[in-house]
Point group: C2
Chain length 296, copies 2
């Protein structure tokens, strides 16, 4: 994974705004999402970087971000990341695709620690994985319409001088989010919906597909069954890989072993259904989630 | 339809807070919903009361209400109804089930005009329609868990001295909302989802089913196919019937003919997808929707 472009925008961290001390290695990684979906990224994080502590913030009072203006999404994202910074995190992962697309640069500007979004890492991973140059993207309607992944792929091709022809096919899959939240990961209805949504991508003979929404990893099995020979790129997992590279680059990765699966979870509105959905997305018991209120 | 209980709580209208003049008949009916769903009630309204003008407000910036606390839902609802009152509406219909369950009394307290919710009218209609006394309710998880319909049915039975045994069976159908918004009204996947959700109600041999969510009338065909001999109660339609009775009781119903299908639509956040979903729910072209901002 080439982290050049991501690291490049983290200059604040190692210069004027660096407020981290030498004890930083023991600080947590902050993960922010508009709702519960980012816990699929946390699931990857605790598996890939088991020594790291995690502080998660889901802005469940204002979810979804996808139908809001860029200015609103930026303001909400800055508020959420500010909360994580006050918790002394050493790095922030924006797991939310909409916030990554619309607010990453604004958040990086105000953050004294590195901030990693999901779009650039997933786009890079897709370009590394594809042989045919035919890449699919699925996401919410807002993510697909934003063109953020399409732009990122184009930008990376230009930056790296990739001359092979790359064609991008994007499809919105709005019903995947409620199916994932409902826990119908492999229901016959889910399969029917997946077949319909993914038919244009199958026809386009993509060989790589970016799961451009934090909820979609919950539907990996059904997506893979409909597109059996396609490499699936989990955007949250790719963001964790980039975060790992930054932590090592800055030598602020956790040194000690044995403190894995420590996830402090905060939400801005705690619905009765939150815990059960959260633990299904996370893959292990969460213990508790604390409600915090701001921006009301 | 017995409107006694609804009219009873409207005492403000004809006493100390009555700010309406004699020209009130030409004023619009205000319809408020947390989002786009209430337009199914407006569809019924323009068909049943074609002479009435309608002002619709969808709080799309803060939808859904179902996962928010009662205090928050009440505050949002009061703010929305205040907006409608400033537009000089002569009556307000709260089409949103959550707001009807959690905020009706608070809104009635601040309103100088009658306010009608959807729960009491639908519960009354179900009790009138049932022969077996076996009534089903479907709604969002929040509506079902709130027990609002169950309580209303119990209260009405006690008020009216209904001695026949009444049994209520409630099922949450969370995927119906996204299917309705996606426009998959009769997709094979929708049918599979409906069969699964409605199986316990079929088994319970209900003879009447309350569609306790403004989105569900869009799925009437598939629901009726799964439950062929069951009377479906459209909560929005029942609220319009009660509103009609109040307008006549107060002699403020529209006198003139020929101004039908005038719907002024306001939303608190106008997404790109709003208009197409709105017009599908409404059943005719909307013309325009104006974005208003408050409570941010």
């Amino acid at each position: 994974m080439d982290t050049q472009s991501t690291l490049h925008s983290q200059h604040n961290f190692s210069s004027e705004n660096n407020t981290l001390s030498s004890s930083t290695t023991s600080h947590a990684i902050g993960v922010f999402d508009s709702g519960v979906g980012g816990l699929t990224a946390v699931r990857k994080l605790v598996n890939m970087l088991p020594n790291e502590r995690v502080i998660y913030l889901g802005d469940t009072a204002r979810v979804p971000y996808g139908n809001k203006t860029a200015a609103t999404v930026s303001a909400y994202s800055q508020e959420c990341v500010h909360f994580l910074i006050q918790k002394s995190v050493k790095l922030v992962i924006i797991a939310c695709n909409t916030a990554s697309a619309l607010a990453l640069e604004d958040v990086q500007r105000i953050s004294p620690v590195p901030v990693v979004g999901v779009i650039e890492p997933a786009a890079e991973a897709a370009l590394s994985a594809t042989h045919s140059g035919r890449i699919g993207i699925i996401g919410t309607r807002a993510t697909v319409q934003s063109g953020a992944y399409q732009s990122a792929i184009k930008r990376i091709c230009a930056q790296k001088g990739i001359e092979r022809e790359t064609t991008v096919f994007a499809e919105a899959c709005p019903l995947f989010v409620p199916f994932a939240e409902e826990g119908w990961h492999y229901h016959p209805a889910t399969r029917l919906v997946a077949e319909e949504y993914l038919a244009p991508l199958k026809k386009a003979q993509i060989d790589t597909l970016i799961l451009g929404c934090t909820h979609y990893p919950m539907l990996t099995d059904v997506i893979q069954d409909v597109l059996p020979n396609v490499v699936l790129i989990n955007s949250g997992e790719e963001a964790v890989s980039v975060a790992d590279a930054i932590l090592h680059e800055q030598t602020i990765h956790a040194a000690q072993r044995g403190i894995n699966r420590i996830v402090d979870c905060y939400v801005t509105d705690k619905s009765t259904a939150f815990m059960s959905v959260a633990e299904r997305f996370l893959g292990f018991p969460l213990g508790m989630a604390e409600e915090v209120r701001f921006g009301k």
